[in-house]
Structure formats: structure tokens, C-alpha cells
């Protein structure tokens, strides 16, 4: 009933089982790699590698399609827009008046799009294979303050609630003859006010209730909080971590030590 899609799919693949802290580290390292690599070939290999991981995660096609719809649109947009701002280099492929399309600019556009594809996909894999609560818990374990983790968890937890509330408010106003997306700017603004005010009122009530509930459940009672669940690194987790480090270090060494054009 809500527009909210949790990207996580239950599964028991290697990517699901690996310690979330290793996954978060891997995502960060692979993101760095995507930034450092500059040749299209190298980035294409990286993208292919990440895509293999997506397949290995056994995420249902519906969810991957849903997620990649946005990535593809973004990549396409970059390829189209890049040459508009970057007209340097030879040879010129085509020109329409002031608009010039050169081969190097096109190449740079495609390269950037591929880089963005790598970055987005690697984060998607984390979301596909890790429950949100585990991501939050792993962040706290990695040293982020518990308060911050809790805030993040609460935001994630209440996202579907507020989506549903806003859906209900829009329904209630539509039932009173309000048409969204119609009329002049003034009318449109007023239409949004009709949703915004009830939404704010509802959010404020929820926030009140939330703060009472937190206190009543002894939040902040002592500094030495315990945790029901803990992550334990298994040998396979260390192995995975080592593999990820290698994936980062090998190309970097090739690029900066041996001067390969990657």
C-alpha cells in the first residue's frame, strides 16, 4: 500500500552471510577504486566484476530492475550532457552550430557514466544483501556513536510510516476534490500546503510519542549499554576482507608503481 520498497531480499548467499562490517569496508574500498581508475577499459572491467556480484547475490530481477532503472537513466544523462560542457579534443565527430561533439569528450562522458554505474551498483549490493538494521548496527560497531545509529535506525524505521501517512493525507484531500498537479503556481502551492500541514502535525505527534517511549524504555539510563546481537568475524570474513583489499591494491600498484594506464 506504500510506495516504499525495501531493497533487501532474504537469502543465504555468500554475500548475505559475510559480516556487514566487511561489506561496508568493501563498498568504501571499491568506491575509492572507482574514483581512482580513469581508463574506460579498467572501469568497464570493474563494472563487469560488480555485476557478477549482483548476479551472485541472487536478488530478484524485479528489485534489480527497479534499482537500475535510476542508474541507467543517470548514466544515459551523463553521456548526453557531458559533451555539452566538454568540447575539447580531436577528432570532431559532429557539429551543429555552436554544439561540437568530439571523440575524446564522448569517451570521457562514457567513462564518467561507467564510474557512476560502478559507484551506484556497489552500494546497491550492500542494500540488496544486508538488512537495514545490520547496516546500522555495523556502523555503530565501526565506531559511530550509538545515538547517531539510533537516529538513523529511527529514520529508516519511520520512512514507510510517513509514506503511508502522506498517502492517506493525499487521499483525504483528493476526496475533497483537490487535484494535484493541476492549476497555476499559486493553486499548486496551496495544494501542497493542504498536504504539508497535516503531515507536519502528524509528524510532531509521532515525535512526542517517540520521545516518551524512548525515555520509558530507559534510554540513556546508563553509559555501559549492552547489545543483544554482536558480530563475530569468522575466518571466511577475514578471507573476504583480504580479497577486497587485493582487489583495491592490485590495480593501484599496477597503475602507480608500474605506470600502467588504468
Amino acid at each position: 500500500m506504500t510506495g516504499f520498497v525495501d531493497l533487501y531480499t532474504e537469502g543465504n548467499t555468500f554475500l548475505h552471510r559475510v559480516d556487514p562490517r566487511v561489506k561496508i569496508t568493501a563498498v568504501i574500498l571499491l568506491s575509492i577504486l572507482a574514483f581512482v581508475l580513469s581508463s574506460l577499459e579498467a572501469l568497464a572491467v570493474l563494472l563487469a566484476f560488480i555485476m557478477v556480484l549482483v548476479v551472485l547475490s541472487r536478488t530478484p530481477l524485479a528489485k534489480t530492475a527497479f534499482s537500475f532503472k535510476f542508474v541507467f537513466r543517470l548514466m544515459l544523462l551523463i553521456v548526453i550532457l557531458w559533451p555539452l560542457f566538454d568540447r575539447s579534443g580531436e577528432p570532431v565527430i559532429a557539429s551543429f552550430g555552436p554544439l561540437v561533439l568530439t571523440e575524446p569528450a564522448l569517451l570521457r562522458g562514457v567513462t564518467s557514466a561507467t564510474r557512476i554505474g560502478c559507484l551506484a551498483t556497489v552500494w546497491y549490493i550492500l542494500m540488496f544483501t544486508t538488512q537495514q538494521r545490520d547496516i546500522v548496527r555495523a556502523l555503530v560497531k565501526l565506531g559511530i556513536r550509538f545515538d547517531f545509529g539510533l537516529t538513523l535506525a529511527i529514520s529508516l524505521r519511520f520512512f514507510p510510516t510517513f509514506s503511508a501517512t502522506i498517502g492517506s493525507i493525499m487521499d483525504a484531500q483528493r476526496a475533497r476534490g483537490l487535484e494535484f498537479g493541476k492549476g497555476g503556481p499559486l493553486k499548486r502551492t496551496r495544494n501542497y500546503v493542504a498536504v504539508l500541514i497535516p503531515a507536519i502535525v502528524s509528524a510532531m505527534r509521532t515525535a512526542d510519542g517517540l520521545s516518551w517511549a524512548l525515555q520509558s524504555r530507559a534510554y540513556g539510563a546508563r553509559l555501559d549499554r549492552t547489545y543483544l546481537r554482536d558480530f563475530k568475524m569468522k575466518w571466511s570474513d577475514y578471507l573476504a576482507l583480504a580479497a577486497v583489499v587485493l582487489v583495491l591494491v592490485l590495480p593501484l600498484t599496477a597503475k602507480y608503481v608500474f605506470g600502467m594506464e588504468l
Binding site: 484531500q173 476526496a175 500541514i197 502528524s202
Partner: protein, 285 residues
């Protein structure tokens, strides 16, 4: 009885639903196969537990949801082909939580909002607003900010804002939740007045006491179907039906059922009635 609204329609069916099926995005089937006719001036209680499909059904009547298949006809028009604001002129829908719609600075503005959206003339709007404020006993509060009012009053404002659109059909979702007996009685009396004026009322509720006191007809829903359609007494004489739709019969009805083989009729719905039967004899009615 008020005559049929327009010639050529032949009968006084104001709502006609044929083989309605509704599936939410993501594949949840909320209505499996539902057909029903509702006459003008009827007072229907639509009952069932959460998840029975009653709200989904109601939203198919005013265009907030469109049938996945089947036909919903409102006053002779195909609801699927009619825009929501057009339907809003015929079907008014008061949501359970008034705070999901109240946003204006005064009660009067709030009540004006609906008819203003529907594009009525200023004169017309003024008349409709006055009538709505009268109908819900809100004249003395017209300049107050709606959010400063008590829950019972806020609910009346939300219903007045529906009355102001002057629909023939009123759908009310749990209008008495959270109200005190006095406020609840007053509201139900106002709804009764609307019904006497010839308006069709569809009351969504799981309060069987409310049903027994006000409705002319009870439609019981369970997992997306109608499992009973009868007068209120019929609904109370079958405890199994109520349980199947996650409803709880009122205590007197349970007591009457317990005393069934002692000669007490099973469809007793008020304490007065039960005591009458106890003291005057179980078979004289």
C-alpha cells in the same frame, strides 16, 4: 421515499457493483469478487475486521482506487471513467482521522475547501457552507482554528467539509472512534438526520453496538468478500459469521445466545430488549 434521481435510470439503485476485484500493487488481493446494489436513502453498515477489505471497497466507490476488474456504477456512471473530483460531488468520504485533512486557519475555510475545489459559484458555496455548519452544529466554532478543537469537534468539522460538497452518498470511516458517549450519540443523530433527508449512508465500522442502533442494513466482509448481507438482526443471530470476520458481538447478544435454548431469541441487540424477553416471555415479540 425520494423518487429516483434522474429519469431513464428506471430504479433507485444509486450504487451498483458487479464482480469487483481489486489487487494492490505488489499483488495483495484486497477484494476478490464483490457484487452489491445499494439503494438511494439506504443506511448500510459495512463491517469487518482490519484487513477484511472494507476500506478498499469504499475507496473504489469514490475513485481513490480504481477496480482491477469489474464495474462500479455510481448513479448510472462508470466510476472507473469518472474523475475523482466529479465523483466527489456524488460520493463524500470522511476519513477516520480528521487530522489527515484539517489544514485551514478557520473552521469556515476548512468547510469551504471542498466546494471551492469543485468549482461551484460563490453564492452556491456560501449556501452549502452554511448548511454544512448547521448540520454539524459548528456555527459557534466557525472562526476557530480546527486544530485547536477537541477530537469530537474536529471530526464534525471533517464531516461538515464533506457535507458542504453536497454529495448524495456519505461514506464515513469509523466516525465515532475516540469519542465520548455524548459526542458519539450527537454525531450519530446528525448522520441520522442526513439519512432522513434522503442521503445514502455507508458507515464503515467494527463497533457492533453502533450497527445495532443505527443501520438499516449490514454488510459483513471477510478477506475481500461479502459473507453476509442482511438487516442488523440477521447479522447478530449468527455469531459464527461475526467471528469469521473478526468481529465481536455485543455482550447482550452473547448472553442471549447463551440463553437461546431457554427461549430467548438469538438476535437480541439491546439490554432493554433482553430484559423484556426475560420478564415477559421468550416467544412474544
Amino acid at each position: 421515499m425520494i423518487p429516483a434521481p434522474s429519469p431513464g435510470q428506471g430504479d433507485d439503485k444509486i450504487i451498483s457493483v458487479r464482480n469487483l476485484r481489486f489487487t494492490y500493487e505488489g499483488g495483495v488481493v484486497a477484494i476478490t469478487d464483490l457484487s452489491i446494489d445499494i439503494r438511494k436513502g439506504d443506511y448500510v453498515a459495512l463491517v469487518g475486521g482490519n484487513g477484511s477489505g472494507k476500506t478498499t471497497f469504499a475507496k473504489n466507490l469514490n475513485g481513490l482506487l480504481r477496480p482491477s476488474s469489474g464495474i462500479v456504477t455510481i448513479r448510472g456512471r462508470d466510476a472507473a471513467r469518472t474523475a475523482v473530483p466529479e465523483l466527489a460531488k456524488i460520493v463524500g468520504y470522511a476519513f477516520q482521522n480528521p487530522d489527515y485533512q484539517l489544514f485551514c486557519a478557520t473552521v469556515e475555510e476548512e468547510v469551504r475547501f471542498g466546494p471551492l475545489n469543485l468549482g461551484y459559484s460563490e453564492d452556491d458555496i456560501r449556501r452549502k457552507v452554511e448548511r454544512a455548519l448547521d448540520a454539524m452544529n459548528l456555527q459557534h466554532l466557525r472562526d476557530k482554528p480546527p486544530l485547536s478543537l477537541r477530537l469530537g469537534e474536529r471530526r464534525r468539522v471533517s464531516i461538515a467539509s464533506v457535507i458542504a460538497m453536497d454529495p448524495d452518498i456519505f461514506i464515513l470511516d469509523e466516525p465515532t472512534t475516540g469519542l465520548d458517549t455524548e459526542e458519539s450519540d450527537m454525531l450519530m443523530q446528525k448522520l441520522q438526520n442526513l439519512n432522513v433527508e434522503g442521503k445514502t449512508i455507508i458507515l464503515i465500522t467494527h463497533d457492533m453496538r453502533l450497527v445495532s442502533e443505527h443501520a438499516k442494513r449490514v454488510v459483513v466482509m471477510s478477506v475481500g468478500r461479502i459473507i453476509l448481507d442482511s438487516d442488523p438482526r440477521g447479522a447478530f443471530s449468527d455469531l459464527e459469521i461475526l467471528r469469521r470476520s473478526n468481529l465481536e458481538p455485543p455482550a447482550v447478544t452473547k448472553l442471549a445466545h447463551a440463553l437461546k435454548d431457554k427461549g430467548i431469541p438469538a438476535d437480541v441487540i439491546s439490554p432493554q430488549e433482553l430484559v423484556f424477553h426475560l420478564l415477559r416471555g421468550g416467544e412474544s415479540r
